[in-house]
């Protein structure tokens, strides 16, 4: 217990000094994707449902937040919140349609609806089409701190992503999280105890979509841009990869997975292998699925368990 607290304090300290050591934009990108993956893990790892359309919540919120900040002139926090809530609302609609299906059917419905969202964003006027929604103002945090400063922005983004992550942690360790665990363990028994499993899963799905939206909206503020990349189905695949690589159903796994994937992409993109990024990512994906399904954190946990 105390050991864990020490680790938490060390991690927080590292996060505080990080922007003075590493390029802040890069760190903020990792933070946003870490929250996205942690939110996605809530539905895959704890709800046992593979959504293949999470780009719709991430990217949809990115556009809506961008529009809210640029055109409506909302304060930054509010713009991010609006993006997250919109993603949650869309998640509720998708969830209602998909939650009764299992396995591949669930994945297909979520993908199909996410593609509809993609076509909406590609043809809607406010999104800027292929060019994306550019020049989104970063604004001020709490109306006071100028977010055009990257270091200031970093702490702002850190606060949002940590807050989002804590919501995930709390949800997992809440009465609701206990129900999710039971449901994942033995769905029929949960039903026979009187649980409406569809409503339970729907709540997990909406939470996941909302937090994915917060992540996407925050990303818009960082890059001052929302683009088709954010809503593309590649993005849905990427978050699956991050979660699997880090360790599905573990709290830290998706965060770590996001860090590894973003770092890898950034390193490769500027090198001679840039054209091969999709192939390399695909290979990692295959290795993950075939050789170490538990992911990095899952494997480490298993190793610790075995050695005690």
């Amino acid at each position: 217990m105390t050991n864990r607290n020490i680790l938490i304090v060390l991690a927080l300290a590292a996060l505080m000094v990080a922007p003075f050591v590493v390029y802040p934009i890069f760190l903020m990108k990792i933070l946003c994707f870490a929250l996205f993956a942690a939110a996605f893990n809530l539905i895959l790892g704890y709800g046992g449902l593979l959504s293949f359309g999470h780009a719709a919540y991430f990217g949809g919120a990115a556009y809506i937040c961008g529009h809210a900040l640029k055109v409506w002139g909302l304060p930054t926090e509010l713009g991010i919140l609006v993006g997250g809530l919109a993603a949650g609302a869309f998640g509720a609609v998708v969830g209602l349609l998909a939650i009764r299906r299992q396995g591949i059917y669930f994945a297909m419905i979520t993908l199909a609806l996410a593609q509809m969202a993609f076509f909406f964003f590609i043809s809607a006027d406010f999104t800027g089409g292929e060019n994306g929604l550019q020049g989104v103002p970063r604004g001020y945090a709490l109306g006071l701190f100028d977010l055009s400063n990257n270091i200031t922005l970093y702490y702002f983004v850190l606060a949002i992503c940590l807050g989002g992550f804590l919501i995930v942690v709390r949800a997992v360790h809440s009465p609701f999280g206990q129900v999710l665990r039971a449901l994942r363990d033995n769905e029929d028994r949960a039903i026979s105890l009187g649980y409406d499993v569809e409503r339970v899963k729907l709540l997990a799905f909406v939470l996941s979509a909302t937090l994915s939206g917060i992540a996407g909206a925050t990303k818009t503020v960082v890059f001052q841009l929302a683009s088709l990349t954010d809503v593309n189905w590649h993005m849905s695949g990427e978050v699956v990869l991050m979660t699997l690589l880090g360790g599905v159903g573990t709290l830290l796994g998706p965060v770590l997975g996001a860090g590894v994937v973003v770092a890898l992409q950034n390193t490769l993109a500027s090198g001679p292998l840039s054209a091969w990024v999709p192939v390399i990512m695909g290979t990692i994906f295959v290795i993950c699925v075939l050789a170490f399904r538990r992911g990095i954190v899952g494997e480490i946990n298993a190793l610790i368990k075995r050695s005690f």
Partner: protein, 249 residues
């Protein structure tokens, strides 16, 4: 006629032309222990699946406390007070025994969707959960991971979890299946004990358990009711001997 808690009327289930349950008329008397017996494949588990709507009914009606429940959702039926167990042990293996019982208590108290609260608040149910574990002889297992518990203990845990909901009608599908003699005796005594103040419908292959516990017995054969009565009547029936006891004895 005596007060009945559950009634079925021409309850029928067909699987692609194969009739697994064939016009079954069951009346379960309130406060009784009622056995459903019959050879393998007779349709006993399917009857349970129909009563709890884990499978949709093809034809017929089910009434619980006088109201028609046909067509409801399984979770709804559970909340009305009909709680089933399963033929293979139904527990939450990656949770502790205490947590298993708590999951049931949580549902009853409506603490289902609170994702913003700490799970530590659930400790308010610990006392009641321990009490239930104690009742089924599992007090020493409360912290144990259920996956590591012996089979007989898992079945006892299942009963404790079901009892947490205080169901009016308990459906037990072969509660002593796969148990050693000692566990069978313990479970029999346990069922007797918990039957006070409630109704139990159980599927059971072990006839000494049936004779020790059950007030009334319905014999199913190929989906249809062969006969019904108390143990003496049923066991004396030559057709039952032929269909069922011939195989068991």
């Amino acid at each position: 006629m005596a007060d009945s808690i559950l009634q079925t009327e021409n309850l029928t289930k067909e699987f692609r032309g194969f009739t697994a349950v064939d016009s079954v008329n069951l009346t379960i008397e309130r406060g009784s222990i009622h056995a459903l017996i019959g050879p393998n494949g007779a349709g006993k588990t399917t009857v349970f699946n129909l009563l709890t709507h884990f499978l949709p009914v093809t034809r017929g009606a089910i009434r619980f406390n006088g109201t028609e429940i046909t067509g409801m959702k399984p979770a709804q039926i559970s909340r009305l007070g009909i709680v089933r167990s399963f033929q293979i042990s139904a527990v939450f293996p990656h949770m502790s025994a205490l947590e298993n019982v708590r999951v049931a208590l949580q549902r009853k108290e409506g603490r289902i969707f609170q994702f913003w609260q700490s799970e530590r608040g659930l400790s308010r149910y610990n006392a009641r959960a321990e009490e239930l574990l104690d009742m089924v002889g599992l007090s020493s297992f409360s912290k144990a991971l259920v996956a590591d518990m012996p089979y007989g203990r898992k079945r006892a845990l299942e009963i404790a979890t079901t009892l947490a909901l205080e169901p009016e009608l308990m459906l037990l599908d072969e509660p002593t299946q796969g148990m050693g003699r000692e566990d069978v005796e313990r479970t029999t005594a346990l069922i007797k004990q918990v039957s006070a103040g409630r109704t139990i419908l159980m599927v059971e292959h072990n006839l000494s358990v049936v004779s020790a516990l059950c007030d009334r017995i319905t014999v199913l054969q190929r989906g249809a009711v062969l006969t019904e009565g108390d143990y003496a009547t049923v066991s004396a029936d030559p057709r039952v001997k032929e269909a069922y006891m011939g195989k068991a004895a």
